[in-house]
């Protein structure tokens, strides 16, 4: 198990406390003190599960900018895929051609890979089944695709996650 580090505790504490203030939305001394104590306790217990890496990763403007840019990239992809999926559903659910395809991932690090996998799952039409690694350390996703347009791994990967992967690489590298 990982050791509890001070920056991780601090970051978790700030997040919890901000949440507390936002949710209670009262600024009496009593509420603020209770919130601080509860947040500190929660941070002490959960920081080592919550933050595995550098706690202040997003405090650099370039990374924060990349994250905000990614939200818009993702929204664009989301709307495209949603319209496509809605068309299939209203069209009687007939023109589908499902399959599970293995595509290579060009990202390093747990956070980046998990973020990309979740983004793929959130996009209608593709769901990540599993992540696997081969002997050389190359990671692969197994993706269930509702309409398999290409069985070539690289081409399919570009079609499923090309834009998303480029956006995420800018955040985590």
């Amino acid at each position: 198990m990982q050791k509890t580090k001070f920056p991780a505790v601090l970051a978790t504490f700030v997040l919890c406390y901000a949440f507390w203030i936002l949710l209670t939305w009262s600024f009496s001394a009593q509420e603020l003190a209770a919130g601080a104590i509860v947040s500190l306790a929660a941070a002490l217990f959960s920081a080592r599960f919550f933050i595995h890496d550098k706690a202040f990763w997003f405090l650099r403007p370039a990374r924060l900018g990349a994250l905000i840019a990614y939200v818009f990239i993702f929204l664009g992809e989301l709307i495209k895929a949603n319209v496509d999926m809605a068309k299939r559903c209203f069209g009687g659910c007939k023109n589908i051609d499902p399959g599970v395809i293995r595509v290579p991932v060009g990202l390093k690090g747990d956070y980046a890979q998990a973020m990309l996998a979740n983004s793929i799952t959130l996009t209608p039409g593709t769901i990540t089944l599993d992540i696997a690694e081969d002997q050389e350390g190359q990671a692969y996703y197994y993706i269930h695709w509702i309409d398999v347009q290409s069985t070539d791994p690289d081409q399919a990967g570009e079609m499923i996650k090309g834009n998303l992967e480029r956006g995420i690489r800018r955040i985590w590298e």
Binding site: D97, N118, L122, A132
Partner: protein, 115 residues
């Protein structure tokens, strides 16, 4: 204010339309995995549309920050937790032996993990 009201109504209507599409898909898709795929329609643009509409309404008509923040939290939670559940259900169903009636076009998972 009227223009804003129209935008809010449109956002909620769009969310409802995508939720309807997802529901139709869940009922009519031919196999388990395709049904799961259709359900993501509901949980993404359906939820995002309704939440955005509710957020604007809470800010500009009710003028109630607590409600606005709760709406944002609901949206964020659905967006972050939903893929984890979807992934777990898909993999669980596949491991359990659920297969579509029609043969899939390509099935790398079976090739690599099925004995």
């Amino acid at each position: 204010m009227t223009a804003l009201r129209i935008v809010i109504d449109l956002l909620i209507a769009v969310g409802a339309i995508f939720a309807l599409a997802g529901t139709i898909g869940v009922n009519k898709m031919p196999d388990t995995f395709s049904r799961m795929q259709a359900s993501t329609c509901t949980s993404t643009l359906g939820v995002v549309g309704v939440c955005l509409g509710a957020l604007l309404y809470a800010i500009f008509f009710k003028q109630d920050p607590a409600t606005a923040i709760k709406v944002v939290v609901i949206g964020l939670l659905v967006i972050t937790i939903n893929p984890v559940g979807a992934h777990a259900i898909m993999k669980g169903a596949y491991r359990h032996g659920v297969r579509p009636d029609k043969e899939m076009k390509i099935d790398d998972f079976r090739r690599d993990f099925d004995e």
